[in-house]
């Protein structure tokens, strides 16, 4: 019998395959992972503490920086939480615009998440370039509406910052023509690729009972075969008015999560088409954002959650009756989705770690906050 010794390897915080500044302390036996301890905090920028010093409105641009791929989704969850806390009604058109924006966000997030995952497998930049390509066009639309590419800061309590510009809808319709072809092309490029199958099939299996007990959400949970989607489970905004399907995986491995993301992009496109059909007129649907500068909710607490592209994103707010939140807590999906990382990696090779991490699709801004 050969004498072996366990070895501790640090992956990160600066590592080309870690998403942002994430560090893993891996115990390996040869190439096989024995244990893995994630180390966080390299992007812990005190979001929650700063938020308690801000007024409710001032926090809106800070939420952009949580999950910086999906600023619109973060805005939505936060706006919902404050609206629940202060009892603010949202006009219907604003709700539709919100859904539209969040679904566009989901498409761009999943496209780049797929790109990043393949990037981690070693296909340096080419699939990423495909993944980020349509993203640029969606970002153009965001910029048109909100004024910024990434940090949109578009939602306000009881509405959105401004109405859609006149050129937005025609451009979006053009983009919708291109989207199915784009998603098909991305799938054709990657789906049957033998190298990807080698790296993804049967890797990082997360059985559904385990997934549930770890509290993971989003595409990771759905990839494990549980059709839990907040948009269906507890419909918020106007999601109960749309027809769309929930894709789930069979095995719960990296490949399933990849396929679930591809399919969710198609479903998002379906939702956007329905939004465009149902979108009410611009007549009186919008609030003047200046009217809601100083939100002073009554004493109490509120929790609002949405299905962000990464999973269940929740904001827990406690108000003490002043203009600033007394407690501001983010339930960050990618942080919780990392809980089973050690279990998912155990028994696989070191090279699989980065693939598994890529398939969870984390964003450090949200993990560390």
């Amino acid at each position: 019998m050969l004498q072996t010794q366990e070895l501790q390897v640090n992956i990160g915080p600066q590592h080309p395959s870690t998403h942002g500044v994430f560090r893993m302390l891996v115990t390996v036996d040869g190439e096989t992972v024995v244990d893995l301890k994630p180390v966080f905090g390299y992007l812990h920028r005190n979001h929650e503490q700063i938020a308690e010093a801000n007024t409710y409105l001032q926090n809106m641009p800070y939420t952009d920086r949580l999950d910086y791929f999906n600023s619109m989704a973060n805005n939505h969850a936060y706006a919902m939480a404050v609206e629940r806390l202060a009892g603010i009604e949202v006009p219907e058109r604003a709700e539709y615009i919100r859904v539209l924006m969040v679904e566009l966000t989901r498409i761009l997030n999943h496209a780049s998440a797929v790109g990043f995952m393949i990037n981690d497998m070693g296909a340096w930049q080419t699939p990423l370039a495909f993944g980020m390509r349509e993203r640029e066009k969606i970002l153009d639309l965001f910029e048109m509406a909100s004024g910024a590419r990434l940090m949109c800061n578009y939602f306000r309590f009881g509405g959105v910052a401004r109405d859609l510009p006149p050129e937005f809808i025609p451009n979006l319709r053009e983009l919708l023509v291109a989207l199915p072809a784009y998603i098909d092309e991305l799938e054709r490029l990657l789906r049957d690729n033998e190298i990807l199958l080698q790296r993804a099939v049967g890797i990082g299996i997360l059985p559904r009972e385990v997934a549930l007990s770890y509290g993971v959400t989003g595409p990771v949970l759905r990839g494990s075969g549980i059709p839990y989607d907040v948009r269906k489970a507890e419909p918020y905004s106007v999601y109960d008015r749309f027809d769309f399907d929930i894709p789930i995986g069979k095995v719960g491995d990296v490949y399933d999560r990849f396929l679930v993301r591809i399919e969710e992009m198609r479903q998002s496109k379906r939702i956007i088409e329905q939004v465009l059909e149902q979108l009410p007129d611009a007549k009186g649907g919008h609030i003047n954002p200046k009217a809601r500068q100083n939100v002073r909710p009554p004493v109490g607490d509120a929790y609002a959650r949405i299905e962000s592209p990464k999973g269940e994103l929740g904001f827990y707010l406690v108000s003490d009756g002043s203009g600033k939140p007394y407690r501001y807590k983010v339930r960050a999906p990618s942080f919780i989705n990392l809980t089973p990382l050690a279990d998912m990696c155990r028994g696989y090779k070191v090279a699989d770690i980065v693939v598994i991490l890529g398939s969870i699709d984390i964003v450090m801004g949200e993990v560390d906050r």
Binding site: P16, G41, R45, R65, Y68, M132, E136, M151
Partner: protein, 264 residues
Amino acid sequence: MAEIDPTQLELERQGVLLTTVNRFYNWGRRSSIWPMAFGLACCAIEMMAFGLSRYDVARFGAELFRASPRQADLMIVAGTVTKKMAPQVVRLYNQMAEPRYVISMGACATSGGPFRDGYNVLRGIDLLIPVDVYVPGCPPRPEALLHALMTLQEQIDRQKLGRVRWYGSSDKPQTSDFPVPTFGAKGLEIDGKLVDPVGGLPLLSPYTSPSHGEHRSGQIEHPEIVRQFPIMDPEVELENALKARGVAPEIAADDLKRSVVNDA
């Protein structure tokens, strides 16, 4: 300033041979600035967009994102540098080979940005390593980063072969590594002293390089000097604000490290 050999100055003035060599040398370096694949936070996403097809930094010869600091010429500090991450950033910078450049991308890397009041956020990477170009914006557009790259190229054009720091002819050749901060009970420390002691105040950085980076001391000189805003009257207004909020005076004195007002 460094003592420069008068002969060399004369030669440069005459522009006999060195200018041509300089131009060739600088052309070579400016056309192949390889950045390090090193993203910290939000700005890293825009940095990737800057490397991909829409903005295509390959047009500038800088598309080769290197995974290792040993192969990189340029460190784009893209995102919030937290105190927990700062030692690693300095260590990475130390590992880069000269000539090396730093672009501080976005508000967070430059000054801590919107998060500068956080207990774990470093108020600007230039407290610890020298920065050649600052890009404001949160995050800057990829075009803004391209503009920063062009600014850096202009700076490289101005460098003189005989006087660049990595050949050691400046008065303080930078041979030693930059000090890597350590974790302390209250924050980052270098030699037992807090690096960012003022907490909430903007600092005048010791590593800002108005002389285009040809001369850097490598020492942290005086991070305790507070940048003055002509219209701010911190001493007076601060105390009133603290009193109004019922904050204990010792917090005002110790944690904010602003000078205490004596009643004259």
